[in-house]
């Protein structure tokens, strides 16, 4: 088995839950990253807090990699972060593969109203029927995709 790391995953999950709780009880906003990211452009009228949140998210990741080094990827003691290479059968090149993946992720989360954070954490915690459906579908399709493409 590849390195099984339940304790950091659990602690990281608690921190993500805490972050979502603070945004909800403080500002009444769902910590759904695709929603926060996807409404940066007009006609959105609440751009400032979204930018503050996203910049702080990058800063938090960066700082943590230095303060708590060597957990996984990133920072001075971690393995270098890398995107996955496309499966061997795909001859279109890494950039095309990554671009298609990003397009589908952006488009799908927009019309599906959320991603792993908005549906997967906030929505499930709110016991939203829509989020239970969305999580079942995107997890199912992602697992099938990994299986069929043979990317890992």
């Amino acid at each position: 088995m590849d390195a099984f790391t339940p304790i950091p995953a659990l602690l990281g999950g608690v921190l993500i839950g805490l972050a979502s709780a603070i945004l909800w009880l403080g500002n009444g906003r769902i910590a759904g990253i695709s929603g926060i990211f996807g409404q940066l452009l007009p006609p959105a009228h609440t751009v400032v807090w979204r930018l503050v949140f996203l910049v702080a998210l990058v800063g938090g990741t960066f700082a943590a990699a230095y303060l708590i080094p060597g957990i996984g990827v990133g920072g001075p003691a971690g393995r270098p972060a890398m995107l996955a290479s496309p499966p061997a059968w795909f001859t279109g090149g890494t950039i095309v593969w990554v671009a298609i993946s990003g397009l589908l992720t952006g488009f799908g989360t927009k019309i599906g109203n959320g991603c792993t954070s908005g549906h997967g954490i906030c929505g499930l915690a709110r016991l939203s029927k829509r989020s239970f459906a969305a999580v079942a579908v995107f997890f199912g399709v992602a697992i099938i995709t990994v299986t069929l493409t043979g990317i890992v």
Binding site: M1, D2, T5, P6, A9, G12, G13, V14, L15, I16, G17, L18, A19, S20, A21, I22, L25, N27, I33, L41, A44, W49, V52, L54, V58, G59, T61, A64, G72, G74, G75, M82, L83, A84, T94, I95, V98, A99, S101, G102, T105, G106, F107, G108, T109, K110, I111, G112, T116, H119, I121, S128, V137, F138, A142, T145, V146, T147, T149, V152
Partner: protein, 157 residues
């Protein structure tokens, strides 16, 4: 109560964003290969499956569940006039299609939107390609589904 540009409101967003970023690093959700190994159920029979990231949800959901329960006893959040809880509750074709398309994209790269942003901290090769595509895809989606809860609700009715 205060405006979305008030100092306490923005500080709350900053603290939440920073904690979220720390959580993504600590949990290793920022590692696309780790995410793909979590999604690789074909490795279960050989014992090669890495189920670690299931613990991210196990850690996060109860904390947020408690916050939601606390919120239900309040008329408003601390620094804003209302809870922006999604009002639309029907499971429609758009939700299912959107989730399926996202699942396809996620399974191709192991990168969901949160880690996509937090990976900026480590700037791996080709991340820029992913981020630009994410932005274009999201913007294109806005033509199918209006941005903001008001527009979505109007469309649904």
């Amino acid at each position: 109560m205060s405006k979305p540009t008030s100092i306490p409101y923005l500080l709350t967003a900053a603290v939440s964003g920073a904690l979220f970023g720390v959580g993504l690093y600590v949990s290793q959700m920022v590692d696309p290969l780790k995410v793909l190994r979590f999604l690789d159920f074909t490795a279960i029979p050989t014992g090669g499956w890495d189920p670690s990231l299931a613990f991210v949800m196990i850690g996060a959901i109860p904390v947020m569940f408690i916050a939601v329960q606390i919120g239900r006893r309040r008329s408003a959040p601390v620094f804003a006039s209302q809870f922006h809880e999604p009002e639309y509750t029907r499971i429609d074709a758009r939700l299912v299609a959107g989730a399926a398309i996202f699942g396809l994209g996620w399974g191709m790269s192991g990168i969901c939107p949160g880690p996509a942003i937090s990976l900026i901290a480590f700037w791996p090769p080709n991340l820029l390609v992913f981020l630009l595509a994410l932005f274009v895809g999201s913007y294109a989606g806005a033509f199918v589904l209006p941005s903001g809860s008001g527009g979505r609700l109007a469309l649904a009715r």
